[in-house]
Symmetry: C2
């Protein structure tokens, strides 16, 4: 039995959806996109020592590898459908694989995304997942932000970056706060539940993976607009509020890996969308606005200790 057979066995939890004509086992899967839908496709590689500390529990590695890809589908306004999984492993460690697959499978089941293909090979620990999803109506692009839009974000920012600092022993926090931040690092919540809510409202959207300032910069550049950002409006968890102002802002504005959605919409839409999200238990916060007098990003705070991801933008 190959490792991929082992992986496949963990995905026998349900019958294939009607969109899967033929799943794993032949030279390719045969799939069907529902009439009237476009297909969203995204791929992400996840390497030990680069994207996650080598000592990360395998359950978290699997969970997060799929979560970051699900987040890309949410950011496009797409509904999860299928994924492929390519894994390179230095050795046949069945316990590691079992936990890793359990992490993926748990999240896959939750989102109804179906494994349709994959490959397992010898090599340095590396996971490449490609997700495919259905777009009903318009996709949410980065390029649609308009003058007068509010800039909004889901959840809280900076927790994952603080979690990484704790894991790397660059930061010490009280146990409860540390547990929260490490949990956000290892088990990010992809915001697929917002897709339905944002449809017809959001003008531009992406997920926060490189840090708020860098990612908002991408939206502004793609949309050809500028924006004001209010540092006091940026939503922070109780854990992050324990840190000094400068440090928590550094995590929240330049830290990556939060996988919250960053989007723009009219002030009129915001109230309605915020209320609908609250009913799903998701906090939405307006943190700035697209400003026709600006050509880039202006933040009302000067970060002293600027970090990677922030280099491209001026902050006055």
């Amino acid at each position: 039995m190959s490792e991929f057979d082992l992986i496949r066995d963990y995905f026998q939890w349900s019958n294939p959806p009607s969109s899967v004509g033929l799943g794993v086992g032949d030279d390719a899967a045969i799939l069907r996109v529902p009439a009237g839908c476009d297909l969203a496709v995204s791929v992400d590689t996840f390497n030990a020592g680069i994207h996650f500390p080598p000592e990360t529990p395998p359950h978290a590695v699997g969970y997060k590898a799929l979560a970051v890809n699900l987040s890309d589908l949410a950011a496009m306004g797409a509904e999860p459908a299928w994924f492929t999984l390519a894994v390179s492993l230095p050795e046949a460690n069945r316990e590691w694989i079992a936990e890793f697959v359990r992490g993926i499978q748990e999240l896959a089941q939750q989102h109804g995304i179906f494994l349709v293909g994959g490959d397992t090979t010898r090599g340095a620990l590396s996971i490449t997942i490609q997700v495919m999803g259905f777009v009903r109506g318009q996709a949410l692009l980065r390029s649609g932000a308009r003058h007068g839009d509010l800039v909004c974000v889901s959840g809280t920012l900076g927790d994952a970056a603080a979690g990484l600092a704790i894991v790397q022993q660059r930061l010490v926090m009280l146990t409860e706060a540390a547990t929260h931040c490490i949990g956000r690092l290892n088990y990010p919540t992809s915001r697929n539940a917002l897709v339905e809510i944002l449809r017809g409202h959001a003008h531009a959207c992406m997920d926060v993976s490189d840090g708020l300032l860098a990612d908002l910069g991408h939206i502004l550049k793609a949309s050809g607009v500028g924006a004001k950002l209010y540092h006091q409006a940026v939503p922070l968890s109780a854990a992050l509020l324990q840190l000094p102002l400068e440090q928590r802002l550094l995590f929240a504005l330049t830290g990556g890996d939060d996988y919250e959605l960053l989007f723009t919409l009219t002030p009129e839409s915001f109230g309605q969308v915020k209320e609908a999200a609250a009913q799903r238990g998701i906090l939405l916060t307006a943190i700035g606005e697209i400003d026709e007098n600006l050509t880039d990003l202006r933040l009302d705070y000067e970060l002293l200790n600027q970090k990677r991801g922030y280099d491209h933008f001026s902050a006055n």
Copy 2:
């Protein structure tokens, strides 16, 4: 400029086809499957030191990484449409990347397959390509072989395995023959040109990647039938014919990496299909037949020195 920007620049050679709503650059690509078509999806990882010797020229690495994936589409009867490319590289070596991408791009252009997404990361040299293609009509599965079918193969077998043996200094051949075999190892020809020709004729199909005996075993198992195979009928190149009988059969029957198509069809179909393939310059050869009196694979020759890929099958 990131490495992926560099890679993307090499793919600016043509306008996107109408099936690509949005290509590289947002959180996901937005794609359209033509009405009435299914989608075939396959993924393969290609690791240095495992799937290719580390000293393989980067142009060949790129070419072959895409070729083996295109071969999976051919084996399913699918027409190439899009691909994603995930590359882990130990260091930013722009010369290596340029040659690698040139190898991919050359083949992509030839087959009209369009890059729609990707990822470049730090890590041990590893390439994961996912190909997506359109299936017009019925896909070619492994499971359709019927009693009375001929077992057929395209091209010649064993060249790639001989090429690997030469590169690994386990085999010495005359220069011209060695060049031929190494060329077949590094630059396999995916048989996408056969898809149109086999449509409506082939009952079962796959590509020869693990070796003829192992791969025919997969077809027989999936189809629930047995077959006779005639060792003298197996098509060999002039280069392979220079080797002693036992050695050339070992390469041709158990060597992988040839990426020829292995398929079954009725004797009535064979003449017509063979003629159409010959007009495209592709040799087709009948090498055996599905036999209702057998339950597995029977070869009319006993290989003394059995190798990986052959373990699962009895040869009497």
